[in-house]
């Protein structure tokens, strides 16, 4: 039995027909065409599918799409405002915090949730919060540096 539901993603409302067993990840990619959310393992082990749900980082491969109804979902496509990159996106570019780029959307959204929760985290805290997001290319150093640089920035502004 399919259900007609409304999903709120990146501020837009999408009317979609979904089965109860469909994951948010599959609906985002296959029905909404939001391909920035990546499928790395489909088992909740790599973090590549991370999205924000009500501001919190969630693994969209472990979340049923139907559970996202009535909640605000933000994917990587919804992070940059207009033509401007989000400060985290800019930092990832400038610090060289990406290589193949497959883990990058999930990394950035996890970092966003982490910084929203704790504006001036320690490096240890950033590492802990990012530990669920795997990267096989960079060795993590530049990722942690990029996130730390944005944290330091927001600290100054705050």
């Amino acid at each position: 039995m399919k259900h007609a539901v409304a999903l709120s993603v990146n501020g837009d409302t999408y009317d979609v027909l979904i089965s109860p067993n469909e994951t948010l990840l599959d609906v985002l990619r296959e029905k909404l065409g939001l391909m920035g959310t990546k499928k790395g393992c489909d088992l909740g082990a790599c973090g590549a599918c991370t999205v924000l749900v009500e501001g919190e980082a969630h693994l969209s491969c472990l979340m049923l799409a139907i559970d996202a109804v009535g909640r605000e979902v933000v994917t990587i496509e919804g992070l940059a405002q207009g033509g401007e990159l989000h400060p985290l996106q800019r930092a990832f570019v400038e610090k060289g915090a990406l290589q193949c780029g497959f883990c990058t959307p999930g990394m950035i959204l996890t970092a966003k949730a982490a910084l929203d929760e704790e504006a001036k985290p320690t490096e240890a805290s950033i590492k802990k919060k990012m530990a669920g997001n795997l990267c096989r290319c960079t060795g993590y150093k530049k990722i942690i540096e990029a996130v730390s640089s944005v944290a330091a920035l927001s600290g100054k502004e705050g």
Binding site: K39, G40, A48, L79, V93, C100, C137
Partner: protein, 768 residues
């Protein structure tokens, strides 16, 4: 270096970094074509069995299923990377050889239907005795993985350099040890995928594939599909990491094309993570016995090796892997006399293939570990031992390598200094220690078919530059490096360059990303193309300026007489004037590059200079061993790396840092565990490669040399750095707790067991 470069040597973000952070970078699985179908592959549940019968009738009848194929339906054409070692069918024909061997493929309207159809296929097997260890597999009477390969030894080499065995008579000390390196999965974050489309009118296939080597894939597809190469266009979208695991053709590539041709609709195959672990490739598990003869003064005089690689069910890159393993034992140390016997042995297990280092990490683990043991036994400092035996630029290499630049000794010194070697080695409290390892790697392969690169550079009327290159960027930044090279030659900023790459229908021939050859090979081709374009402009501008074209420079979007920036033209004015002079437009430069080579240089046939140049590096580690839990914490890792002159230091750092984490995984955590042919840990959770929590303090030191063959003096930086972190860490563990480990990975279980075996002597520092 005193070089006045504007774009080369500068830390610049990748060209596609913006797309990657915005999530708009397109990977293969992100492609959706109208009417696209989805495929899945049925895999063998048995390690070794005859296929008696396959009943696909029920699957075919399932609503939504568009096609089902088995090994019987496809041409009798085997594929493989090395022409003489082809031994694999896209779908198994008479028998299956490992758990995961592809047996049938289904194509359906959606992935779920395809998955459901797989369960409706009935395969009748006759199970055969299987073999899981290379040493067992070589014995008389062992089950044969391939009937035509006696003793399961598919590739063997025996090489002798210098005086051979006799050389050991002149040694003061002889040491012999055996080492084992485990199976490591590449585990790229992007699972392997392919999308194919067919134009029935022209008989042309287009395939988008997560491949590192589009032109080799085209060749393997052509020979297995029985379609001319000219009718196959391979396009590489963004690739989410490769590390060698996306070099081979896979069932998904063949089946996507096959179904697209038969059904006339686009077809997508995406592997699940479990398939990536069991049915793609992995670093070969290898037993290596090393016998080393030393002179009293600490000089390595002779070495003998016996290597047994567990190839799993198929060859993949076997001949190249075993050859690299051999020849790179004569760098970075001077080894005047060497005997090498290497065997690639079939087993009923996942298939070994190229992985970052390709046969060398296993050999390096053995050598670097044994050198430390020798240093202890001879009472020589391990760093001193390495410096003393370092090969130097211009020295003879017994295998015929030509080493024009070599920063190895310097890399040992710099790594030692950065890790605090003098203050720490043998001096830290029990449980803490430092260790190091050295290595060398080729920047590509000098000469085999396809191992040449081409590039085309065009200057637009607005002064912007487009580049066509076959180089395959798999996340390392190849396109950026090539753009930097072109930008430097033409005197424009990076933003003026647009690169189109890795599309066999558009871009010039290129072998792709393997053997760390991209920067040198494709970089040189791009450099030549840019120079050829620039020369056309210079000749014209020289006439206008009444200057000598050899005196002109291109810099800051201007062309002017060297030393007189006022005597010149902007690039835009120059292009405009060129056009108005009715000279042929557009202004295009072309370049082709192959390393200077003399046959035979493949090493498969005979000795020779394997690569245009060679990188050298030392890794040093500081570790902390928790003697209660057996857990090892890597506190700091230093990489001192001679990659010639870095084109982009930011990207080189990224390679060094990624290699450290990869090496830590190899040393301490990662192991594809196989029991009776079944992979027991085919998921990220169970496999467990390092996360941000395990990240140590890292220091990358670039040892600069100016290589005459590298573009702007560059050498490789992608793979060499992966060779020595593991032995460096295990050597540091020895320094920390006085225990020698000869097997990888060194897990807490191994450490606790070894500590217990020391009969409670764990409280005091003890040296062997």
């Amino acid at each position: 270096m005193g070089k006045e470069w504007s774009v080369v040597g500068v830390r610049l973000p990748m060209l596609d970094a913006g797309a990657k952070v915005k999530g708009t970078a397109q990977f293969t699985d992100d492609l959706v074509l109208p009417g696209m179908l989805h495929g899945r592959i049925l895999r063998s549940p048995l390690p070794h069995a005859k296929i008696l019968h396959i009943d696909t009738s029920k699957a075919e009848k399932l609503t939504g299923v568009k096609g089902v194929i088995t090994g019987k339906d496809i041409p009798d054409r085997k594929f493989g990377i090395v022409p003489k070692a082809k031994d694999e069918y896209a779908l198994a024909k008479q028998k299956v050889r490992y758990v995961g061997d592809a047996v049938a493929a289904v194509c359906a309207v959606d992935p779920e239907t395809a998955e459901e159809a797989l369960e409706l296929i009935r395969v009748e097997y006759e199970e055969l005795p299987a073999v899981f260890d290379p040493l067992e597999a070589m014995k008389e009477g062992a089950p044969l993985v391939h009937e035509d390969v006696p003793n399961n030894i598919s590739i063997s080499i025996r090489k002798e350099f210098g005086e051979g065995e006799k050389a050991f008579e002149k040694c003061d000390f002889v040491f012999e040890d055996t080492f084992y390196s485990q199976a490591v999965n590449h585990a790229p974050l992007e699972p392997h995928a392919a999308v194919a489309q067919f134009d029935p009118l022209r008989g042309e296939i287009v395939i988008w594939s997560s491949t590192q080597i589009p032109f080799f894939l085209r060749r393997n597809l052509a020979t297995t599909l029985l379609v001319p190469e000219s009718k196959i266009r391979v396009i590489k979208p963004k690739v989410g990491g490769g590390f060698g695991g996306k070099i081979d053709m896979f069932a998904k590539d063949f089946c996507a094309c096959w179904f697209a041709m038969k059904l006339g609709r686009p077809v997508k195959f995406v592997y699940e993570r479990e398939e990536v672990f069991i049915a793609t490739r992995q670093r070969h598990p290898m037993y290596v016995t090393v016998k080393t003869g030393m002179k009293k003064d600490g000089t390595i005089h002779a070495q003998r090796f016996w290597a047994y690689a567990d190839g799993g069910a198929y060859n993949s890159t076997a001949p190249l892997m075993i050859t690299l393993s051999c020849y790179f034992l004569m760098v970075p140390y001077r080894v005047p006399n060497l005997i090498y016997e290497g065997h690639h042995v079939y087993t009923n297990k996942p298939v070994g293939g190229a992985m970052r280092g390709h046969g060398i990490p296993q050999a390096r683990f053995a050598v670097e570990r044994q050198l430390d043991k020798i240093a202890v036994r001879m009472g020589i400092d391990p760093a001193e031992l390495r410096i003393k035996n370092s090969i130097h630029a211009g020295e003879d290499h017994p295998g015929g390598f030509i080493i024009n630049t070599c920063g190895f000794a310097e890399s040992v010194k710099k790594a030692a200094e950065a890790i605090g070697w003098k203050e720490k080695r043998g001096k830290l409290p029990f449980g803490r220690g430092v260790g190091m390892g050295g290595a060398s790697f080729p920047s590509g392969v000098s000469n085999m078919s396809h191992l040449a690169s081409g590039a085309v550079v065009q200057l637009g009327q607005d002064g912007a530059v487009t580049v066509l290159t076959g180089a395959a960027d798999i996340g390392q930044g190849a396109e950026t490096v090539i753009a930097q090279i072109v930008a430097e030659e033409l005197g424009v900023p990076l933003e003026d360059i647009r690169v189109t790459a890795a599309d066999t229908g558009i871009t010039p021939l290129d072998p792709g990303t393997f053997g760390s050859g991209v920067t040198v090979r494709a970089g040189n081709a791009a450099k030549l193309a840019a120079i050829s374009l620039r020369n056309k402009l210079f000749e014209f501008v020289a006439q206008k300026l009444e200057a000598n074209s050899a005196d002109l420079v291109a810099k800051g979007r201007k062309i002017y007489v060297k030393g007189s920036p006022d005597r010149g033209l902007t690039l835009l004015d120059a292009v405009k004037a060129y056009r108005y002079a009715d000279l042929p437009m557009p202004i295009i430069g072309r370049g082709s590059w192959m390393a200077p080579a003399q046959e035979p240089t493949t090493l498969l046939k005979g000795d020779g200079n394997f690569a245009p140049n060679y990188s050298f590096m030392t890794q040093a580690a500081e570790v902390e061993v928790d003697t209660q839990t057996g857990k090892v914490k890597v506190v700091k890792m230093v990489t001192a790396h001679d990659c010639g002159t870095p084109i982009n230091p930011l990207l080189v750092e990224g390679q060094l840092e990624g290699s450290i984490i990869g090496g830590m995984g190899q040393a301490l955590y990662e192991n594809v565990i196989v029991e009776n042919g079944q992979v027991m840990n085919p998921s990220f959770l169970d496999y467990g490669f390092p996360t941000a929590m395990e990240m140590p303090e890292m220091e990358g030191i670039q040892v600069i040399t100016d290589d005459p063959l590298g573009p702007f003096g560059a050498k490789e930086s992608g793979e060499g750095t992966q060779l020595a972190p593991a032995p460096a860490i295990v050597n540091a563990i020895y320094d920390a707790i006085g225990i020698d480990f000869n097997e990888l990975p060194v897990t807490p279980e191994h450490i606790l067991k070894a500590l217990r075996n020391k009969h409670g002597k764990t409280g005091s520092r003890e040296k062997a």
